[in-house]
Symmetry: C2
Subunit: 208 residues, 2 copies
């Protein structure tokens, strides 16, 4: 297992309660930026107000580690990640659940900021979701370091915006390689299938 | 060619001058949200200020079409897209250049919001970039509708945060399928290779 700095359950909950709503507010602003039809003065005032908030937030930077380990659950905590990060407004964010038999799943909803063709999720966003959940299942919940080697995506049909589910499991492992599979589903079934090979980096391999 | 509503060069430039800086300000806020270590009061004040700006922007929504055609260049304009959208703070955004021989390339820079492993771009963000640029080259600059069928990504090594280049070209076409290839490069060469099959939807095929 990788050694991460530990974050206590209390500190985890404190940060989640503080940064979760801030980032959620930024997500809604991203959305508003796309669809606003406000007049020019309102847009310029909004820009100035946003720049002032950014300056306030940038007045002090945190210097904590990128990934910590939750003291009670043992699971990695990665606030900044663009797929799962509570503190990253680019992330939906995915909350990935782990079943006892080693599978992963996540239920989430994607709105206008993730739209590619009209009413549908951008194919590259489907790829981001699947790359992440396959990587997480292949690395056993991020506790064993494994990096993406290859990823193959098969788009069966358009993925609608709205509520979705992603699933992933390890098909087999061969030495330093884990072969993972997964899919995105809407209410009518699978929309995108994925297959990936994830590789343990040299520094993490057992000495021989 | 798909028929899009036309946007005049003047109106394009007006919207770009108005919305570009607004979205750039939101991008910087996303970044600040990840790295801030400001005290709790500052965080809560920031959240309230962001919510007020969002309410102002949401006071009126634009009802324009999702994609327009630039009256002078003839190229599609998609402000909202999560890869290339000037108005989408999730997008880096990519500016995709088209060469006369039908290739596409883009130079861009990815910072902390796109980070997966420490100092490196999240594999799923590489997938988003490649899915988009391969799709754009396969659809001849988005003027011929083609949707991703399969996409295969081969991660040769980690892609560093910072300045990057993406390239794509069509390897061959077979009937309704276009076979596209592409890659992401840093200063030392290729980091990720991609191959995709893009398919013309039934409604866009010539009648037989």
């Amino acid at each position: 297992m990788q050694s991460y700095a530990e974050i206590s359950a209390d500190e985890h909950d404190r940060q989640q309660a503080l940064y979760g709503p801030l980032t959620e507010a930024i997500r809604k602003l991203v959305h508003a930026g796309i669809r606003t039809g406000a007049d020019d003065d309102t847009i310029r005032r909004a820009q100035a107000a946003i720049e002032a908030v950014t300056a306030d937030l940038d007045s002090r930077h945190h210097d904590g580690p990128r990934t910590m380990r939750h003291a009670e659950t043992g699971r990695p905590v990665t606030w900044a990640d663009p797929a799962i990060g509570l503190r990253n407004a680019i992330a939906p964010p995915l909350t990935i659940e782990h079943t006892e038999d080693g599978r992963c799943w996540s239920e989430f909803s994607l709105g206008a900021p993730y739209e590619g063709p009209p009413g549908r999720v951008h194919g590259g966003i489907c790829a981001l979701v699947l790359d992440h959940i396959l990587g997480e299942v292949a690395s056993e919940g991020l506790v064993k370091p494994r990096f993406t080697g290859t990823l193959t995506l098969k788009y069966l049909r358009g993925t609608p915006l709205g509520p979705l589910r992603a699933e992933a499991w390890v098909d087999r492992t061969e030495g330093i390689k884990a072969f993972a599979r997964g899919q995105i589903l809407d209410a009518d079934g699978v929309t995108v299938e994925a297959e990936g090979i994830f590789i343990m980096p040299a520094w993490a391999r057992p000495a021989v």
